[in-house]
Amino acid sequence: MSTASVRIEGLTKVFYDDSRGEVRAVDDVHLECASGEILGLLGANGAGKTTTLRMLSTVLTPTGGRAWIMGHELREEPQDVRLSIGFYSSSTALYPKITPRETLRFFARVNRYPAERVEERVELLIDRFGLAEYADSRVEKLSSGMKQKVSIARTLAHDPPVLIFDEPTVALDVLNALELRKIIAQLRDDGKAVIFSTHVMSEAEQLCDRIAIIHNGRILACDTLDGLRGLTGKHYLEEIFVHYARDSQA
């Protein structure tokens, strides 16, 4: 029996498109992610990263396959899955009219964090993410970097064991992206299982313990960076990625 926090077996998502017909956005994906590990999902735009992560967060229902998060199956116990995860993507924006403090309080409460400890948790996150100065300003008035920090803090409001980040640095400048990567590394050190998608090779190289290469909805390889180097004989991740992508089209 696997002890992985996240276990994915044959996860598949098929959409029907009027013009293209049946589209297999995610096709028979198998993955695992343990506590204290960052699993990078590396792929080009449209590779199926977001769809995979949306299924893991139960926003989308899989067409086939199964997945367990902290032992809870996606389709059988979707609420328990959502209790166990913090999900961030570019399409999970913050509510502009409320403050960061109200945001954290709301997400802690609605995700059933013990009521008597909500305020303590909110203050801890405000402190940890350096939000004190802006904690009572409306989110709409914050800078992009600050909003990103609040978004990440929002995913942690109920202290979930699994974190799913879909391209979290995509709209950030260099300094803010660097700070965010540090935060994600700290979360791994705190024992969280982190699944992190990106199309930026250097980011995956620096941050991920293992990297899964996804292309046209299929996982082409999943290993540590050194393992991938050994398998392909290529040194740079970019070369490794191109190797697998070309291989799959051949």
Partner: protein, 425 residues
Amino acid sequence: MALMDSQVLTIYAHEVRSAVRERNIVIYSIVLPLVMYPILLWAIFAGIQFVQGQTERLGSRVALVGLPDEHGALADSLENEKGIEVVPWEDTRDEALSAIGEGRLDVLVEFAEPDSNGVALRDNFTVRLHFNETRDRSSGARTRVEGVLTDYRDAWLDRERKVLGVSDATWADFGIVLENVASPDEMIRFLLSIMIPTLMIIMIAVATFYPAVDATAGERERSTWETMMTVAASRTTIATAKYLYVATFGAVGGLLNLTALALSMRWILAPLGGSTEQLTSAGIPLSALPVIAVGTALLALFIAAVMLVLASFAQTFKEGQSMITPFYILLILPSIFMQDPDMEFSMLLATLPILNIIMVIREAIVGVYHVPQIAVTFLSQIIFVAASIGFAQWVLRNEEVYMGTHEGGLGRFLKGRFSRRASSS
């Protein structure tokens, strides 16, 4: 499922908190019901009064043609009437008619020999009034002239019957006494009973409109919809909380409007005429308020569910508005068709949503309570509300709808669902 579990309340409170910080929602759901409609009503009544006053101030230009010599006193009466100016007319009748059409003359009073040879009274005559009803000044002049002619005729008939020896008692048998049994209060309540249900529906629809679009298409536009979908609450819980939020604003809008109307009734109705004393107790009777309040709340619950479902297919605020607008018009239509004060509140009517609430509110304002019909109305409305909530939850649970990937509106969605079900069975 518990309708009001802690997650529903948490999401509901969160939605309301965000909404009261949204300027458009505050304006359309709170400020407008509270202020705008009383002001609008007052402005309409004051405007009508002003226009009437202007018309009354204008003199009526009246020409007489063929006045019998024996009735010269009638010309004097017309000349002495305030607001009437008898214009000497030398031209032909046709020219007078043209002058009325062009607005140079208001009324032509044409006298002629009576048609019948069997008239009993001497010096009798027939009078024909020519006027133009499309012009206020001409219509007003007609009313003034008709008043003078009626007074003159009555006096003349009275004189002639005395000559003929008809006694006062016999003469009284031919009289017509007009007596309006409705008091000024009742007249005002009658007017309110026609106006208020229509205004109430408009107000609830306006107050519900923005929250419904905000809770669905607005969330998508702000990219907060998916954020909400990742919280550890069931889709039904989220749909219920959103529904309660939209319904609250609809009900609050309707009730605020009702309160504002009730509090400002005397002031609003003052231009309708009558002394202040006559209007002292005018307005909505206190006993009607609970019935109206319940009706308003049920109406808001129903409208909120339908608007939420329609708006949930929209990708943007603009799209949401265009998807809801046909329903908005449909809502107002019944209240327009039901302007007939003699419409009977039948049991069949009591089962029809919206129409039944209009009838309950209308009757409560004039102090009529058909208890069986009210009970059927509230019961059928509760059934409709429960069905619409269930339907809203079912629609919002659907992945294509909550992810906004469904193209088209409710009709296409239902067609797709049922054709899929038929093909799979």
